[in-house]
Structure formats: C-alpha cells, structure tokens
Amino acid sequence: MIVTPTWYLVLAAALFSIGAVGMLVRRNVIVMFMCVELMLNAVNLTFVTFSKTLNDLSGQVAVFFVLVVAAAEVAIGLALIVAIFRRRHTGTTADDISELRG
C-alpha cells in the first residue's frame, strides 16, 4: 500500500474538523483550548504535505511561525484561565463564565 500525500491531507482535514467540532460542542475552556491547538497542528500537517508535494520550502517555514504563535496563544490562554480561576474559584467551563448577554 502506497501512502500518497492525499492521505496526509485527508488526515489533516479530519483532525481540523475534529478540532473545529470539539470547539463548538465542548464547554470546558481547557478542552476548547486544546481543540484550537489540534486545529493549528492539522494546519501544520497540511503545510508540510504541500511543501513536500510542491517541493517548496516556504510551507515548512510557515510551520515554524505557526508553532511559535501557538505557543504564545497557549501562554495567553493559560494566563486568562489562571486569572479567572483566581477571581472566582470555580470550574472552568464556558457556562460558568456568562454574565454578558443581551
């Protein structure tokens, strides 16, 4: 069985969809956060696959930037979760934090 680039693209699309659906249906903030990470990594896989098939390095360079941006987002996300936790000492689900509506 030959593994073609299409397989990787399909896998990446599947991972991205899992992340996107998880983002929409899960209510735990940390899990939602992990879903975003999954989506970003699916994108990384897509970039690397295209980079290989196109024989062009810029796709792999893109992955570097995505990794670093993802790390910065992790830092901010964790800091926000810590701030909310310190403020309220409750669980971290999206339903716990909903005062703003109208």
Binding site: A20, V36, A42, F47, S58, E73, R87, R88, L100
Partner: protein
C-alpha cells in the same frame, strides 16, 4: 551545501524606512517593558511610559510621512523579499491606525487611574498591537498577514481582560480569546489550502500563478478563499461571524473598545482588501458574491440587533457590525473606487467610534459597569456639551448630510452604483438598514434630551479630563470639517488607492 540540502540562503535586503513605522512602535513597547523592569514605583513608571509611548507614536508617524513622500516620487515598492509592501494603501491605513492608537492612549490615562490599573503594561500592549496593525496593512504575504494578525490579536486578548478585578472584563477576554484563536486557526487553514493550490504564499506569487495557469480543479483554492474570508470576517466583526462583538465590546475596558472598533477594524479590512485585490484580483467573480452575502447579513444583523439592545455599549457594538457591512459594500464593488470608498469609510468610522466610546466611558463612570440607556436619561441638563457632542457623533454615524458619516456612506453607495448589477441591490439594502440604524441613534439622542423623572436614579458620571476632552473635541471637529469639506480626505484616499501595489 549545508545539512538542510539548500544550496545557498540569501538573507533578504531590508529597506529600513519600509519597516520603520512597525519597528518604532514595537521598540517603544519593548522600551516600556524595559523601563518597567527597572522602575517599579508607579508614580514614576506611568509618566515615563507615557513619554516613551508618545515618542514611539510620533516617530512612527514621521516615518509614515517619509514613506508617503518617497512613494509619491519613486512609486510603491516591496522589501524583505516581497513580504512587506510599502504603498499608498498601507500608509493610509497606517495613518488611521496611528491616529486611533493615539486617541486610545489619550483616553486610557484617566481611565487607568480611575480603575486603579497598571498603566505601563497597558501602553506596551497597545503599542504592540498597533505595530501588528501597521504590519498587517503592509503585509504582502499570507504568512506575514497571519503573523501580523496574531501580533494584533494576542495583546488585544490581554487588553480586553485587562480589568482583572471585574469579572465581565475577564469573561469578555476569554470569549474574545477562544473565538479569536478559532478564527485564526480557520484563517490559517485557508492560507494552507491556498498555498497548496497555487504553490506560493506571496500575494503577488499567487496572482502570477493564477494568471498563468488555468486551474482544472478549483476546489482547493475556493475552499482556501472561503476559510480566509471566515477568519478575517471574525476580525472585522462581519455577520455571521459577529457573535463575539457585543459581549466583548461591552465587557472590555472602554478605551480598549474604542481601540478595537477603530484600529482593529481598519487593520483587518486592510488585510482583507489586500488579499482579495492583490492575490485574487483576477478571480473577483469568485469572492464578490461571498462578500455580497457577508455585507447583507452584516447590514441587517447590525441594524436590527441594535434596535433590541438596552445597553449603549452593545448598541454601538451592533452599529459597528452595521458599519462593517457598509465597508463591505465598498470592498465587494471590486473597483478602484470601491477600495478608495472603503478607505474613506474606515478613516471616518475610526474617529466616530473613538469619540463615541470616549463619551460612553465618561458617562458610564467608575467601574465601567453601567452603560445602560437609562443612565443617559437627562444627560443634556447635567452635561450639555457632552450630550451635544454625542448627538453630533451619533448623527454622523447615521449618515446625516453635512457630517462626515454622510461622506462615508455616499462614497460606498456611489461605488456600488458604479459597479452596477447586484451591487445596486446591495446599496438599496444599505440605505434601508441605515434608516433602521438611524432609529437607534435617534433613540439614544432622544433619551439624553428627556429630563430625568422623579424615580430615576441619577448617578454621577466621571469628569472629562484633558485627554478625553481632546479626543472628543478632535472627533467632533473632524466630523464637521470633513462633512463640510471632504475634498482633502477623499483626495488622500484616492491617491492612496492609485498607489496600491498590485
């Protein structure tokens, strides 16, 4: 040969003037962090941070003006191996962003003092975000757009949640963060698919590829286009990707809301316009219908949503969605005139939004908690000048003639009429929703001029300090000046569009 198997790596040449506005703002932000590490005393730290911020903004503006002169004589150019485009368009948007940033900094001083928040960090974050916006305006590569987008967004997540002691601010920050990160990921997937379809992440490279090769299988490119539109739609707060806007605008500290409504919108629209016109200019028949739908939904959701709100900050948030719809009318026209009308609209909306939120911040008073419409009742008897200023800004947002808002709306409508066909319908829908939105603005104005009844609780509003006063005066003056004599701004926008690098 080196271990990566790449024959030689050429480090890209840097045109320092081209990156100077971005670099100077970032340097100022780093400078503030540095001096904050050294000076821990609040009494010294904030004034010195303010000076560094002011110097950074002014130097960045000087660099922009120098760029403008250079572009006038030598024409547009790119630098950093075509990652950064320096053209009239980027300079115009950069100017809008800088003015909005300066206004937000002016608003912030009193606010931070009132809410007892750390000042220097706030300024550093705001400058970093603004530097990202400038980078976004001149980003000429999808990866550069993404990185700039994140430099804009990540400090904004923190700024929205800046009032750590107020749970609504934290909640708004969390919501903005989760949806913003989601939108970034979606945008990035669009970038990856576009890269796969065209073999390039450079906007010019994509355009060249698409003009030379007829794609047999357009699915990947179209999916990429749609995903990028979704991601940027989130950032510009266009319906149906607007859900976060009311909550975040309401929960965020008011100066941050002003900053988001003015500067962030301008930068995100800049990226949108540049991607669509530079990279995908040849396939405008693909994206024009999509933008048409986005525009109609934004117009309707923004105007109708505003009607049912009772909180002024939320009303203005919905009105911001409505304005995004108007700007999209200009963008979807797909013409030079469309771009210049969108630029004009962005510039005018920037100072209308800053002025309006400045007044809301004053009226809401300490704690920033209560911007309910009730609170504006009888404002005219207590604060006559303030209520007249707000009325003027609201009328301008409604698009009343002889105000700047009219010029903005007229521009996008005439661009749509010039494009003809379905754009015509869009202009009609736009006028209809402008009438609905006008009802909301008039409702706020009427509330201010209704005397407060016996049973109404009249709460003290904050004083107007110097910075806020300057911002309100500035936006009101511009509203009238541009409304009466729009020639200068229109000329600038037109010149900027003509120097748009393709």
């Amino acid at each position: 040969m080196n271990p990566l198997g790449v024959a030689s790596i050429v480090t890209p040449g840097v045109d320092w003037l081209g990156v100077a506005p971005v670099a100077l703002l970032a340097l100022a932000a780093i400078g503030i962090v540095l001096q904050r590490s050294i000076l821990r005393r609040a009494s010294v730290a904030y004034p010195s941070a303010l000076i560094v911020a002011a110097v950074g903004i002014i130097l960045s503006a000087v660099a922009l003006i120098a760029q403008w002169h250079r572009v006038q004589t030598d024409g547009s150019y790119t630098t950093l191996s075509k990652m950064v485009a320096v053209d009239g368009f980027s300079i115009f948007i950069g100017g809008v962003v800088l003015v909005a940033t300066a206004c937000s900094v002016l608003l912030a001083s009193r606010y931070l003092d009132r809410e007892r928040l750390d000042g220097p960090e706030y300024l550093a974050l705001m400058l970093l975000s603004a530097s990202g916006m400038l980078a976004m305006a001149s980003a000429n590569d999808l990866i550069a757009v993404f990185v700039a987008l994140e430099i804009v967004s990540i400090p904004l997540y923190v700024l929205v949640a800046y009032d750590r002691r107020r749970s609504t601010s934290l909640e708004a920050g969390m919501k903005y963060f989760l949806l913003g990160a989601f939108a970034s990921a979606v945008f990035l997937y669009g970038v990856a698919l576009t890269y796969g379809a065209t073999g390039s992440t450079g906007l010019v490279g994509i355009a060249n590829y698409l003009s030379e090769v007829t794609l047999l299988e357009r699915g990947t490119l179209l999916a990429g286009l749609v995903l990028m539109l979704v991601g940027l739609g989130f950032k510009v707060a266009a319906a149906p990707f607007h859900m976060w806007t009311p909550d975040v605008y309401q929960g965020a500290p008011t100066p941050v809301t002003a900053f988001m409504a003015s500067a962030t919108k301008a930068a995100a629209f800049a990226a949108l316009i540049r991607i669509l016109y530079t990279a995908l200019g040849g396939s405008s028949s693909d994206w024009r219908p999509l933008l048409w739908v986005l525009a109609v939904l934004s117009l309707l959701v923004g105007s109708i949503g505003a009607v049912i709100q009772t909180d002024v900050k939320r009303m203005l948030a919905y009105s911001s969605i409505n304005h995004a719809g108007f700007i999209l009318i200009g963008v979807q026209a797909g013409t030079i005139k469309g771009v210049s009308s969108a630029l004009t609209y962005l510039a005018i909306y920037a100072f209308l939004a800053v002025g309006s939120f400045a007044i809301v911040g004053v009226v809401a008073g300490r704690g920033d908690a209560d911007s309910d419409l009730e609170r504006f009742k009888g404002l005219s008897s207590r604060r006559t000048g303030l209520s007249w200023a707000f009325t003027l800004l609201l009328l301008a947002q409604a698009g009343v003639p002889l105000t700047a808002g009219f010029i903005a709306k007229f521009g996008v409508f005439s661009a749509a009429a010039g494009a003809g066909g379905t754009s015509y319908v869009l202009a009609l829908i736009g006028m209809l929703t402008a009438a609905i939105a006008a009802f909301v603005y008039l409702r706020i104005a009427a509330t201010m001029f209704t005397p407060a009844g016996e049973g109404d609780q009249v709460l003290a509003s904050s004083k107007v300090d110097l910075g806020t006063g300057i911002v309100i005066w500035f936006s009101c003056a511009l509203t009238i000046v541009i409304g009466v004599a729009p020639g200068f701004l229109l000329g600038l926008a037109e010149r900027a569009t003509l120097l748009f690098l393709r």
